[in-house]
Symmetry: none
Subunit: 240 residues, 2 copies
């Protein structure tokens, strides 16, 4: 069985300027791997309508799922919802279900539900809301595109709301072998083994420890029997 | 004046699987911002030839500069150089300049310069080598595409080699001093020297060899007389 594929789109000038370090990509990479969904491409674009529309169109066409983060807050530069609607040819408005959620939230806190806050209720028609247990303002799923907040705590909560509803593939099995040898010493044998197991993904990741070069060799696949077999060969080849 | 634009392409299954958290994007975002170059898009793709070729073509066409990280080591999954050559329609071979650098490096250390290590000398014809003061294996610039290593210490050193050339100012002169002393031993004197020469850029890049910490000290500037003078001071200070 082939695992479903996914892409992520990170939206935000602050990531591209270096002001903020993105953490959502790393979080969803691990969450999707655990679910048996292969994260295959990530893009980061600025707060620019045309750039977001183009990326959403390309990534939602090329992959089974698209996850976005950022740009759904109350300020003028939060333009993700409108751009995603455009990308899918959907209309967008202050939707009554989202307005009701937000109105109740602010009323309970004695905070004015002003025009800026109402912006967070702009949701494309036909989209399904994604629950936000942290700060109420919802994300949404339109087609295969899951639109979520950029703030990591909120993003992570939204991922937890969405992921269980998606059909994953067989969870990927990973095994790794840590060797105190440099990559150049193991490359030939490791490459030959990888060629024998085209269904498995094999990668090598160098490190240094106490001044000595080492390599982590990682084997990944959906068949644990195959991963076991390949790892046994690898261990016989290199383990001290 | 409009600022030049740049894109980054991160290459590596280990980022997309969540095994490794990328730090190069955040590093170059800050470096480019400081340089007045606008990082406008980032993509992350897997170790897949077609995916790398497509991304390199799109990003090198749409932006003034493209920086890549990852996939230039000695193992079978290091396919970036060949993919970048394809994207630009360039031929690629074990280039003699890169072979000479690597051969000398391994000969000096009594390490076999085997076929895997020779892979790191595969450089597209017409490309200009990017110096690697950490572990010798060079990156390269082909057209507007700057190809660098994924290991953060090496990536950062290569960015330091490339970025000063993108300002369009006077060509920069670089000299380096290789010391078998850790960074902690030379930091004070090196820092004091750097403070005396504010027009020069001085960087230190740690490495390990046979279990011993060493440091490459690099001095860069537009005046070769100044670089010579500073390097003479540095050599008097630290050379054995």
């Amino acid at each position: 069985m082939v695992n479903p594929t996914a892409a992520m789109l990170v939206i935000g000038d602050e990531i591209l300027s270096g002001r903020t370090r993105d953490s959502n990509m790393h979080f969803i990479a691990n969450a999707l791997t655990a679910q048996g969904i292969s994260l295959t491409e990530v893009r980061v674009v600025s707060d620019n309508h045309a750039a977001i529309v183009a990326a959403v169109r390309a990534l939602s066409r090329d992959y089974d799922h698209l996850f976005t983060s950022g740009g759904i807050g109350p300020t003028h530069d939060d333009i993700t919802a409108d751009a995603v609607a455009d990308a899918f040819g959907a209309t967008i408005s202050h939707r009554s279900d989202a307005m009701a959620l937000l109105a109740a939230h602010y009323a309970a806190r004695g905070i004015e539900f002003n025009a800026a806050r109402q912006r967070m209720a702009r949701i494309p028609d036909g989209a399904v809301l994604i629950e936000n247990p942290v700060s109420v303002a919802p994300g949404f799923t339109l087609g295969n595109c899951h639109v979520m907040a950029g703030v990591p705590k909120v993003f992570e909560a939204m991922v937890a709301s969405v992921l269980p509803q998606l059909t994953g593939g067989a969870p990927l099995v990973t095994q790794s072998l840590r060797l105190m040898q440099g990559e150049g010493s193991i490359a030939e044998g490791f490459g030959a083994l990888a060629a024998e197991y085209p269904e498995l993904s094999m990668g090598s990741y160098p490190f240094t420890q106490d001044g000595v070069y080492g390599t982590n060799l990682v084997i990944r696949g959906s068949s644990s029997a195959q991963v076991d077999a390949a790892m046994a060969r690898l261990t016989a080849m290199f383990a001290p």
